[in-house]
């Protein structure tokens, strides 16, 4: 077996001839236009499979014989040949290939097209450097600030964690507005947090339904197309790369450090609030339940910061690319270790990719296959929001006098020998010692994931080809949660939960393609394809309901074992056709048509069809424009995309509950569901000036998502709680602007600038007949609502009560009058605009770039601040502790506060009473805790140095590079006391709400990369 494997490896990676009588030829490849070095140029010895690529500085070296011809090829440049002479040095300059001026991009279904022929907006991302500036949690976060119209928010789970990625605004009422990810043509069931940045060759963002219509239903939110690295023809290249990153959290809540535990100015060691006496250093009794020792009552300004540690992320990668004319392979292995800023929040990941392309029959039949295996071990993923096992909930609430060294002693043994939690308010519902949480509320998740495909492509003639492919994204996850005894409320008797998930998405498709140049001016391309998609997911959870024997985490140790289960499966069959006609290689017309048959829809509506049409014209190729305009393209397109729904939405059933209950489902199904539809129009222009040194790409779009499928609240007295309906029209329109410029371009120094700007306006045009608002529910703090005539996603909470004149009312006791329900619009998260500026500099071997990311507008309501205010932990609670607080004067002075009779408020109130009324968990006044989500941050900063060939010489390395990369380094401006981008989860209604989020995290890392 091992012999066979070795033989296989030799065949795969070693299948190139070894040359005798050779010498090493080296040189530099440059751009003839400006003399700048060209990295990544393929260099091949003609007639052989011996090849290499130039390094970051355009340098190469290759073994060749005198008289051999070297072929230099590079995308967008004319290929050149040069003969090896007696010299060992051979440098060459390549010219721009006018016919290849436009870059080639991967579009829907993996079809590669010239960018100039596209009738819709796409934005390609330079994947170079993504592995160096790797984000802490998720590959997609490296797109933050780089793509116009793309909004990325992260969930606060610590080292793991998914991101919420939305293009051109939210649109789906009940479903997801998130993008679809396609990796090498394989649609992923979930997000791309598992994909290794080291494997990525290119990323292309298809922004609208127009671009993505061919992917069908799920692409109405746009798609992110990732192409991973493949083997290349000629030689073997080995890259070894290592990145070490350190992270630091930055807690921004405004803590006070003048008063400690207690109430009404009196010390109470059991208090969770800081309304006690001044922290004057006097000696007070300790809080410990066992033999409390007295200690100094003094400010502990760092007790919350002390809870954090410096996080580390170590990523090591080995990539081997090799190939001959017949077989090309890529092998990648990435190992990652992450230690979060919360102790023991760790992740280990192995990611192995193997990809092969084999020309079975020369020029006729190609077999391609890929397998990507990812194993992730995640330890103590952080719970979010109000979860009692979210350690931030407890860390942020540390009373201001609690000493770190005391809190760190999180447990003790009671007289009966039981391990008990050491906490200042034993048994509290909602409180815990944060050090207990991270040490005694543990979890472990193991995920095994395989993404792969196999495809055959046959060229019948030069004009006609057929591709058949099957692809799979499958994963299984096992999670264990271990909660020790005395984890208040959630596990007083300890608990043990397990979760086992398996699921897959399996696509099989074919694509028949026909291309024909009818004559010099006119060409057509026609394609016909079909896809069969099967998805399935199932899980089982068990819950011990307490433990019999303390802290033995086994199902057999259950006090009251319960289990729950879920199963879901769905199938969609599709047929599609698309074609393009080109005139003079300057005018392009696109048409697509697709029919889907979904198992989730009723038989009569099972099939739904949709289409797109577009036209683009390269004006600069058609007419003569002033010399300053080097390129001008106009494009417009219209698309409609249908969408189905989740399984089992068309029949009402009854659930079976353990213990022998039959329980009717409370949602009335819609037996005549229609598929929902997104209509999308866009128009854009791409212009470049001054010899392509300045570029502007402009897009205006408008999308309407209609006939949406969602559950509407019903009159519960009619016997159902909700009914599933078709309705709604959510409109988004906006503009996207991308400026690119090269202010300086010399052979030694280069400066590139890219600016992204996008502005999206959303409006809920309708919901359904007679329905003008839809609530997503929420919590004690807020409700997330969609309202007709309003932008997407209004956040409602309690507010200050006002009289008819709009003045705020104060109650007789001096506290604010408060609205009774969550009926005041307090926040909407949608930004006015988003922007990003990237500056890249290169001086000889040194490169430097930084990205400033901007978000203007939107608000977030903060439950954390509401609770910290009622705890008396914030700076804002210092005023009026002696009873001298006057609402509207020395607190909320911007409000015009009057008494019931209209006279100005002059009633004194105690700060503790004041904040108890408007803060806290159960009935907070959201209006008082809303913050501006605008911010400007240094998203990414990167400094790289490539060792010059003069140093590398004839050593073992073809190239070597060292980079210093910072991510999310600092806020240039942040009005909020938290990071407005961190969400409690990636659900639709999480926008505009902050609840015990992890702090904003900055990272600084170093990457070393060697090529052999």
């Amino acid at each position: 077996m091992i012999k066979k494997l070795l033989l296989f490896l030799v065949l795969v990676f070693g299948s190139y001839p070894l040359l005798a009588q050779t010498k090493t030829v080296s040189g530099t490849v440059t751009d003839a236009a400006d003399g700048s070095p060209l990295p990544g140029v393929n260099v091949l010895v003609q007639g052989t499979t011996n090849g290499t690529q130039t390094d970051f500085d355009g340098n190469y070296s290759i073994d060749a014989e005198e008289g051999n011809v070297l072929i230099f090829s590079y995308l967008g440049m004319s290929t050149k040949n040069a003969t090896v002479g007696s010299s060992d040095e051979l440098s060459i300059a390549l010219d721009e290939d006018a016919s290849q001026l436009d870059e080639v991009v991967v579009t829907a279904l993996g079809v590669e097209r010239q960018k100039k022929s596209l009738t819709y907006a796409t934005q390609g991302i330079d994947a170079e450097g993504i592995d160096e500036a790797r984000p802490q949690q998720n590959l997609v976060n490296s797109l933050q600030g780089k793509v116009a119209g793309l909004s990325i928010q992260t969930s606060g789970n610590g080292v793991s964690g998914s991101s919420k990625v939305v293009l051109r605004g939210n649109r789906s009422i009940a479903g997801s507005s998130q993008v679809l990810y396609i990796v090498d043509g394989v649609p992923l069931g979930g997000d791309i947090s598992d994909i290794s940045p080291d494997d990525v060759a290119s990323i292309n963002v298809l922004k609208g339904a127009n671009a993505a219509a061919l992917y069908g239903a799920r692409a109405n939110n746009g798609a992110i197309i990732i192409t991973t690295k493949s083997g290349t023809e000629g030689g073997m290249s080995i890259i070894v790369s290592s990145t070490l990153t350190a992270q630091k959290g930055n807690i921004q809540y405004d803590y006070q450090n003048e008063y400690g535990q207690g109430s009404a100015g009196i010390y109470n060691p059991n208090s969770t609030g800081s309304w006690g006496p001044a922290l004057d250093g006097s000696t007070v009794a300790g809080w410990q339940p066992t033999g409390a020792t007295s200690y100094s009552f003094s400010p502990q300004p760092d007790n919350v910061d002390d809870f954090m540690q410096t996080g580390f992320n170590l990523a090591n990668n080995l990539s081997i690319r090799s190939g001959t004319e017949k077989i090309r392979t890529f092998f990648g292995y990435t190992h990652e270790l992450r230690n979060g800023i919360v102790a023991d929040n760790d992740l280990k990941r192995h990611n192995v990719t193997f990809k092969i392309d084999n020309n079975l029959i020369e020029d006729k039949l190609v077999l391609s296959a890929k397998a990507n295996y990812i194993r992730t071990d995640l330890f103590n993923s952080l719970s979010t929001g109000e979860s009692f096992s979210n350690p931030w909930r407890h860390a942020y609430r540390l009373p201001r006098n609690i000493r770190t060294e005391d809190a760190e002693v999180y447990s003790y043994i009671d007289i009966e020998g039981n391990v008990r939690q050491n906490y200042w308010k034993p048994g509290d519902n909602g409180g815990a010692n944060p050090y207990w949480t991270i040490n005694e509320n543990l979890s472990e998740t193991m995920t095994n994931k395989i993404i792969g495909y196999a495809s055959l492509k046959y060229n019948f003639t030069d004009n006609l080809d057929l591709m058949i492919r099957t692809s799979l994204d499958t994963s299984s996850t096992t999670t264990e949660n271990k909660l020790s005894n005395d984890s208040y409320i959630i596990a007083d008797n300890g608990n043990y939960n397990t979760y086992n998930y398996t699921g897959y998405e399996w696509n099989s498709d074919f694509l028949l393609g026909y291309n024909k140049e009818i004559n010099e001016d006119f060409g057509i391309s026609l394609n016909l394809g079909g896809n069969n998609r099967q998805t399935r997911s199932q899980w089982v959870r068990t819950d011990n309901g307490g433990l019999n024997a303390a802290n033995i985490f086994a199902v057999s140790n259950a006090l009251n074992l319960t289990s729950t289960q879920d199963f879901s499966t769905k199938q969609v069959n599709s047929l599609y056709a698309f074609g393009q006609a080109s005139l003079k290689d300057a005018v392009f017309v696109d048409l697509t048509y697709r029919s889907d048959w979904s198992s989730t829809l009723p038989a009569e509506n099972r099939r739904f069809d949709y289409y797109s049409a577009g036209i683009s014209g390269v004006i600069s190729d058609l007419v003569t424009l002033p010399e300053a305009i080097s390129y001008l393209k106009l494009r417009t397109s219209y698309a409609e995309v249908g969408n189905d729904t989740d399984p089992y939405a068309i029949s009402r059933n009854a659930n079976l509950v353990a213990g022998g209950f039959v329980q009717l489902q409370t949602t009335q199904p819609n037996e005549s569901l229609k598929p929902e539809r997104t209509k999308s129009f866009e128009i854009g222009a791409d212009a470049r000036f001054l010899d392509n040194r300045l570029g502007i790409d402009f897009t205006y779009y408008k999308t309407n998502t209609i006939d949406q499928l969602f559950a509407q609240t019903a009159l519960v007295e009619s016997g159902i709680s909700t009914k599933f309906i078709n309705g709604g029209d959510v409109q988004n329109n906006g503009i996207e602007l991308i400026f690119t410029g090269t202010p300086v371009r010399t052979s030694d120094f280069n400066w590139d600038v890219t600016v992204n700007y996008s502005k999206n306006t959303s409006e809920v045009l309708s919901l359904s007949d007679g329905l003008d608002e839809l609530s997503y529910g929420g919590d004690f703090f807020r409700q997330f609502r969609l309202e007709v005539g309003q932008p997407w996603g209004n956040v409602y909470s309690r507010g200050f009560a006002r009289n008819d004149a709009g003045q705020v009312l104060v109650a007789a006791d001096g506290t604010p009058e408060v609205t009774s329900g969550q009926d005041v619009l307090v926040a909407n998260y949608n930004p006015d605009w988003l922007g990003g500026i990237t500056n890249s500099f290169r001086y000889k071997n040194l490169s430097f770039s930084f990205l400033i990311d901007m978000r203007q507008g939107g608000q977030v309501g903060s439950l954390t601040n509401a609770i910290l205010a009622s705890d008396g932990a914030l700076e804002s609670t210092l005023a009026g502790r002696d009873g001298s607080l006057v609402f509207g004067t020395n607190i909320f002075p911007e409000l015009d506060v009057v008494q019931a009779d209209g006279s100005p408020n002059n009633i004194n109130v105690n700060a503790e009473q004041f904040w108890a009324k408007i803060g806290g968990r159960n009935s907070p006044v959201g209006e008082a805790f809303v913050e501006d989500a605008s911010n400007i941050r240094m998203r990414e900063m990167s400094l790289g140095y490539s060792l010059p060939q003069s140093i590398l010489g004839n050593g073992p390395f073809k190239s070597a590079k060292i980079s210093l990369v910072g991510r999310n380094l600092f806020f240039i401006k942040n009005n909020a006391s938290f990071d407005p981008e961190v969400l409690i989860n990636t659900n639709t209604n999480a926008d505009g709400f902050e609840s015990f989020s992890p702090p904003s995290t900055s990272s600084l890392g170093v990457n070393v990369k060697f090529a052999f």
Partner: protein
């Protein structure tokens, strides 16, 4: 070329093959883990299981639903308990919207549809006994709902044909209850059983259901005593003549299991309420043998120095005062109600007991109705029955208790006793009524839903005033008269509830509006 055409055809055939198969879509889109509703209509066994769910949800079995629909409102307002969680405003008389919402939606969303399904299917299948059981449970469930709000959707519940579900007046609902009970009683006249072990109350025993129907009629009859005395007398006498609960073997409980637990068992663990000062005053003053069963000594012992480790807390504590935990200093519920791991027994959920029936009869007898005994006899039987059920007291202790002239005591130094009546029956008719209702309040503990209704109807037991009310409509020394309607009743249409609010029975939607039967 021909070759190409052949291959092309092959390709298309392949395509057709992959997309043509939609025959199994029906099967793919069928959830294997759930039950097709059609199957329920053919199966009495499944109907029994649906009924079981209606029984459990009809008393808000699920812990958090129970907390936010009963414990935070009726239980606290009846002063069985006082809140110790600073964020719970209901003890300061604030009906926090989102919680009360769930009292409404839990019933109409979870319980009522099940009940209607069972009642409809049992009628269709000619299952007279099962149908009678469902009807009796319907009356029990809806009287709780109308006792909370007043006019509520009843006669047209579940009518999906209507755009607006009308709210029936409380008067019409109560009148129809008696008719429905007549029907159920007639259906049960021949004995029989239905639903077997799925019936969580009486394991399908029709004869026991018959007694429950009569006892429930008695409860409802007394409820309308001040609103329609003639109806009350007639229905009460009819009930007693037909046979009501006479001993604890008759008591109605909803049985629980490991999954579907007694909600108190779970919420007690959250440490958010303790014994009320009113409870302490009465139980300690009476030297009541039920005290150690109903409550535990405070963890901190006798902190107020009154010689007893049982400590009650005044209701209506301010938010600020609750910032300091009151849990250790005050008495938690009795051990049998606490978490199983801490010695609890996960007891069945009590619906109605024989002691309550004796007290109902005693009140009727006091009014001169034919209740099969004198007010005093029935009052004393009520106490005896309750003590036998709820305490380990022997006959001599019980006799001594019944004869006791003990009165409530001050719950803490400097406070007044909450009331002055002794256990021993006597005094004016009004004092006797106070004795009857006070003892009933003790006997039906912890059924706060019923206790709050009877408090509103009779004004008893007397309560300590709350420390603070944050409700402008209800002062700290008054009692909340009803729940205001919740958000869900206004969505998506408010036509039904608007009509109810403007009806003669209410006039406005406030916590201080008296319900139809609240006429004393």
């Amino acid at each position: 070329m021909k070759n190409i055409i052949t291959k092309f055809s092959l390709g298309v055939a392949l395509a057709a093959l992959s997309v043509g198969c939609t025959e199994d879509f029906e099967e793919i889109n069928t959830d294997p883990l759930v039950l097709d509703i059609g199957k329920i209509s053919d199966s009495p066994v499944l109907q029994g299981q649906a009924f079981a769910q209606a029984q459990y949800t009809g008393v808000n079995g699920l812990h958090w639903r129970f907390q936010i629909s009963q414990n935070l409102f009726a239980d606290i307002w009846a002063q069985y308990f006082a809140t110790t969680a600073s964020g719970f405003d209901s003890d300061r008389y604030v009906q926090v919207g989102r919680w009360a919402d769930l009292a409404w939606t839990s019933f109409y969303g979870q319980s009522a549809p099940q009940l209607k399904l069972v009642e409809d299917l049992s009628a269709e299948n000619g299952n007279a006994v099962g149908n009678a059981m469902a009807k009796i449970w319907r009356v029990h469930s809806y009287h709780r709902i109308t006792d909370y709000w007043g006019p509520v959707p009843y006669s047209e519940f579940g009518n999906t044909e209507l755009d607006v579900i009308p709210y029936d007046s409380q008067e019409s609902i109560y009148r129809s209850f008696f008719v429905t009970l007549d029907e159920a009683v007639a259906q049960l006249a021949g004995g029989g059983s239905s639903y077997g072990g799925s019936d969580r109350v009486y394991s399908g025993d029709g004869a026991k259901w018959l007694k429950f129907a009569n006892s429930l009629r008695l409860r409802l009859a007394l409820r309308v005593k001040y609103a329609d005395p003639a109806l009350a007398k007639a229905e009460a006498e009819k009930a007693v003549a037909a046979g009501v609960f006479t001993d604890n073997g008759d008591n109605a409980y909803v049985s629980v299991d490991d999954t579907n637990r007694n909600p108190i068992e779970t919420i007690t663990d959250w440490g958010e309420y303790r014994m009320s000062a009113t409870m302490e005053s009465i139980l300690e003053g009476y030297e009541d043998p039920r005290l150690p069963e109903y409550f535990q000594p405070a963890a901190d012992g006798d902190s107020d120095g009154d010689g007893s480790p049982y400590e009650g807390l005044l209701n209506g504590q301010t938010k600020v005062s609750l910032e300091t935990s009151k849990n250790a200093g005050h008495s938690d519920v009795g051990v049998k109600f606490v978490d199983v791991a801490k010695g609890g027994i996960n007891p069945p959920i009590e619906v109605m007991n024989a002691a309550e029936v004796y007290f109902l009869r005693a009140e009727g007898a006091l009014a001169g109705w034919a209740m099969g005994g004198s007010a005093q006899e029935l009052y004393e039987m009520g106490i005896r029955t309750s003590l036998m059920d709820e305490s380990g007291a022997d006959a001599a202790t019980i006799d001594a208790y019944i004869a006791s002239t003990n009165t409530p005591i001050a719950f803490e130094a400097g406070a007044a006793p909450v009331a002055t009546i002794p256990v021993a029956f006597g005094g004016t008719d009004e004092e006797k009524l106070e004795q009857i209702i006070t003892q009933k309040w003790l006997a039906i503990y912890p059924n706060g839903w019923e206790a709050w209704a009877e408090l509103r109807r009779t004004g008893y037991p007397k309560q300590y005033a709350r420390i603070q009310s944050e409700n402008p409509d209800v002062a700290a020394d008054e009692i909340v008269r009803r729940m205001v309607y919740v958000t869900s009743s206004f969505e998506p249409s408010s036509e039904g509830v608007d009509a109810a609010i403007s009806s003669a029975e209410l006039g406005s939607d406030k916590n201080n509006i008296k319900l139809w039967w609240d006429k004393k």
